[in-house]
């Protein structure tokens, strides 16, 4: 079931000379996890802004083509209403802290207060996301005095607590160490299992390969590739389009070049192990 549809969408920011999105056709289905990759400046963040209604409502500029979100054209969506439907976590962790709450617990509850959630339910929901994001130790801390990585988790928690059906997440792990990054991906996986639709912009291709259902590759404001992760991420041509492919896929294609291919190009660690074991097992 398609939930968000873009038909021949082009967009220019006000005063900009070049298109931020050009003739983009995309479909996002409910309950799937989409990885959005590509060079910086390729239009990834603009795509997020469009799905969130910030383009064109907040930024202005000229938008052509059709963007349908849950049956309604984005131009007709009331952004306040859309904010309750689509959660948005963006890059900079510092500006996502409200600055009006004295503890992390209250900070996470802010969105729920705005949604008018009754207090008892609010408390339970905040407790749940704090556990989920492993920030139990932070709940009494001042959100304005946290490190970048901690803020990133709190900002993420604050949006997850709002429990919208769709999440648009723009590079949520830029400030996190490998462990924190792995945690975030595990949480996104969990959200997907709960039936949520996820659009994630991320450079960490190895992790995207492990979790994403579908991949969209943007290049110079256009869609260069799109399709199931397995199909898109095994294609070494991605490298020429400013994107990366997983290390194991690179390994797979190198082996193929050497004439000792694995029979398939794996994109996940697990599949790579299986494929190599099969290959070696068959020979030795």
């Amino acid at each position: 079931m398609s939930f968000i549809t873009l038909q021949d969408v082009s967009y220019k920011y006000p005063l900009a000379k070049t298109f931020a999105l050009k003739h983009v056709d995309l479909t996002f289905e409910k309950g799937k996890f989409y990885g959005i990759i590509g060079q910086n400046g390729a239009g990834k963040t603009t795509l997020c802004n469009l799905v969130r209604g910030l383009v064109p409502h907040f930024y202005g500029g000229s938008l052509t083509g059709k963007t349908i979100i849950d049956g309604t054209n984005v131009k007709k969506w009331d952004t306040d209403q859309l904010a309750t439907q689509i959660g948005y976590v963006f890059q900079n962790p510092f500006t996502q802290i409200s600055g009006v709450k004295e503890t992390v617990f209250e900070e996470i509850a802010l969105g729920l207060e705005n949604l008018g959630i009754p207090k008892d339910e609010m408390i339970e929901r905040v407790i749940r996301v704090c556990k989920l994001l492993k920030i139990e130790d932070l709940i009494k801390r001042d959100p304005n005095a946290l490190s970048g990585g901690q803020r990133q988790r709190v900002a993420f928690a604050a949006i997850i607590a709002m429990d919208s059906d769709t999440l648009v997440i723009d590079e949520p792990t830029s400030q996190l160490d490998p462990e924190g990054t792995a945690d975030v991906f595990a949480i996104i996986q969990l959200l997907k299992e709960q039936g949520k639709t996820v659009l994630l912009v991320e450079h960490k291709i190895d992790l995207l390969a492990e979790y994403a259902d579908e991949i969209v590759v943007l290049e110079k404001a256009q869609v260069a590739f799109q399709g199931p992760a397995q199909e898109v991420l095994q294609n070494p041509a991605l490298l020429e389009h400013g994107a990366q492919i997983p290390q194991v896929a690179l390994l797979g294609s190198r082996l193929q070049e050497r004439g000792i291919g694995l029979g398939r190009i794996p994109i996940t660690q697990k599949d790579a192990i299986a494929a190599i074991e099969e290959r070696l097992g068959g020979e030795s």
């Binding site: 910086n40 160490d177 030795s284």
Partner: protein
């Protein structure tokens, strides 16, 4: 010529001790990657190297001079430090003015200013942005402007704090090239990063930190294949290293090529 941390500790004015008893010598021409969990003390450690933090215990010696005897600005002409967030650093109206600022501040001749700017711009690949306002260009490019502004001082040592965060494949390639070019000139580059592929690809020497201390110091292979170190500093191997561990093949493999060779060897090719 070297940066030496001698039993250096640092306690913030609020009483929080961020690093304890660090001992480390970084010679000219070395490429050193510093890895470890958030909060392990990496940033505090490098801030001691350029005098932003004066050690509260022990000493930090830069090219024979104790950092306690100089101002931060003085030490910074030896040890350049690029902050994690370029917006904390950039203040000029154009990219070029930003890069020229330090050479002019240090009252260099026009010819020298020009040479340095050209060099810094070439290394960071920002030639097409020179006349732009730094705040009108993308964040990831702005990070290169911040690097170029520090490069123009041509310090013998350069510290980069999370340079790969938010960079795409092209940005990472520019960084790799930049680090190699500086090393070729006999300069040292010290980099904090969470990007393990970047560490394995670019650094001869890796320092792992955990719980306010240096827990290991060695080659990328030594660090990534020391399970104890990987566990304690909460880092992970490269994807290929991880694969080798799971498959239990090869001699401490880290890179794609090594894995290809290993598989070829096993297949008798």
């Amino acid at each position: 010529m070297a940066i030496e941390l001698k039993d250096a500790s640092f306690t913030y004015p609020n009483g929080y001790t961020a690093v304890e008893h660090l001992n480390l010598v970084i010679e000219s021409g070395e490429k050193v990657g510093i890895v470890g969990q958030n909060g392990a003390g990496k940033t505090t450690a490098v801030k001691m190297m350029n005098g932003l933090h004066k050690p509260s215990g022990g000493d930090v010696i830069v090219d024979g001079v104790n950092t306690k005897e100089k101002t931060t600005a003085q030490i910074s002409t030896y040890v350049g430090y690029v902050f994690q967030n370029p917006d904390d650093q950039i203040f000029n109206k154009s990219v070029i003015a930003e890069i020229e600022y330090m050479p002019r501040y240090l009252k260099m001749e026009e010819k020298e200013v020009k040479r340095r700017v050209e060099r810094a711009v070439e290394l960071t690949g920002i030639a097409k942005y020179l006349k732009k306002n730094p705040f009108d260009i993308p964040y990831s490019t702005r990070k290169f402007v911040a690097i170029a502004a520090i490069l123009a001082t041509e310090t013998p040592y350069l510290i980069l704090d999370e340079p790969t965060a938010g960079q795409d494949a092209e940005g990472i390639a520019i960084l790799s090239h930049l680090i190699d070019a500086l090393q070729a000139e006999g300069r040292s580059v010290i980099t904090i990063t969470h990007d393990m592929e970047f560490v394995a690809d670019n650094f001869d020497r890796v320092v792992a930190m955990a719980q306010k201390q240096i827990i290991a110091d060695g080659s990328a292979r030594d660090i990534f294949w020391n399970e104890e170190v990987v566990r304690t500093s909460r880092i992970r191997k490269t994807a290929i290293g991880e694969l080798a561990k799971e498959l239990q093949i090869g001699e401490r493999i880290l890179y794609c090529d090594e894995m290809v060779e290993e598989i070829a060897r096993r297949l008798g090719q």
